[in-house]
Symmetry: C2
């Protein structure tokens, strides 16, 4: 589903070069449930930004379903992202002037879903993440974990085949966190969605097929669930 070849991202800051990613070559299979773990600052979000096509690498390639995303023009890339990838941002990135419902329906406007269907799907997804009574709240009228769940709902409504979840449970209590992990695992087993998590949450380990451990922009080791 997703493959990277010597993926690197460097930030030059005067005399210093920060190696956010420093040569990552991995293959993530279709319908895999993968977790990427590692210290704060080790490159997880940067890896996501490269794989999600949100930013260009300094070196190396990203393939999504065999397509080298660097070969796509801006429109093709935007279409690929909207149709295939659901991105749950570590910092939520909700639109402050829109309600939860409006934030969640927005991606479906872009992919041409009918209005009735948009409202139905948004309401259903927000209810599934426990926000059925917060539909008309704007982000500033929601708790941290509620904002996180709006971001999760938004990533899932276009039926993506790949979900990039960056710290999806970071602001959630144990119980709500388990509900979200269950939701992702169900999408994975029932709908064959490829789930790629960047996470510090050790609860993710039990449901992951494999775990990539990142350190200083490199893959330190890869474990299978059996080994952990």
């Amino acid at each position: 589903a997703v493959e990277t070849e010597d993926l690197a991202k460097y930030y030059v800051m005067g005399p210093v070069t920060v190696r956010a990613l420093d040569g990552v070559s991995v293959k993530i299979r279709r319908s895999e449930y993968l977790s990427i773990m590692g210290p704060s600052g080790s490159g997880k979000t940067t890896f996501f930004n490269m794989v999600g096509g949100l930013d260009r690498p300094t070196r190396g390639k990203v393939f999504i379903d065999e397509v080298d995303i660097a070969s796509l023009d801006a429109y093709e890339l935007a279409w690929l992202r909207a149709k295939k990838i659901g991105y749950i941002f570590q910092t939520f990135n909700l639109i402050p002037v829109l309600t939860a419902m409006e934030n969640v329906t927005l991606p479906m406007v872009f992919t041409g879903v009918e209005r009735e269907e948009r409202l139905r799907r948004a309401r259903e997804m927000l209810t599934r993440v426990g926000l059925g009574e917060r539909l008309d709240h704007k982000p500033g009228e929601l708790s941290g974990g509620q904002q996180q769940r709006v971001a999760i709902a938004r990533a899932l409504v276009n039926d993506p085949v790949i979900v990039l979840a960056d710290e999806p449970t970071g602001n959630l209590d144990l119980h709500t966190g388990l509900e979200i992990i269950n939701l992702l695992k169900t999408l994975n087993t029932e709908k064959k969605v490829t789930i790629i998590n960047a996470t510090h949450d050790l609860k993710m380990i039990d449901v992951s097929d494999r775990i990539f451990w990142l350190r200083d922009g490199k893959i330190e080791r890869i474990e299978t669930r059996a080994e952990v």
Copy 2:
């Protein structure tokens, strides 16, 4: 150190009233290490906003060192907050156009600390949270957990007597999270700082003197470390 009397915060949204806090009366002792836990949306951040004087309650009182903060004018409240309280926000609230160093020195400008001393303290605190090599990065050039640690450093540089930490480890890996918990615990035991955490992180339990469990805006139960 901190006392609340029938503290309540209601948000009226058309026909619906959201009871974010619904009558909380608690006494938090000087030099206590307290954790407030509870489901996402149960009122932890709202409790902090009331106690930290960032917003006014719908009903009830907040006392900081015996002073009813509703009796303070805007200037007195701002001064109290700057001198006595260090606030670590769940959503960081860093200033995007300022570097880590500039974000951390800002509170000290307000309390009249000399420039040399400001730079010394900021550098020291950022190093203590592991960001010694990120001093000149702006928030957008930092990872999620690094931004969180800048917010932590900023809250501690004015030597507060009370720290309100809202999910301080939410974006941190196990190792870095333990370092932050150790830092807070050290401030507590060595400098007698009152630490009040809102958190989902079960690692906080071991170092807490007491734990308040919130549900639907009310205190459900209070436990001591011995009982947990």
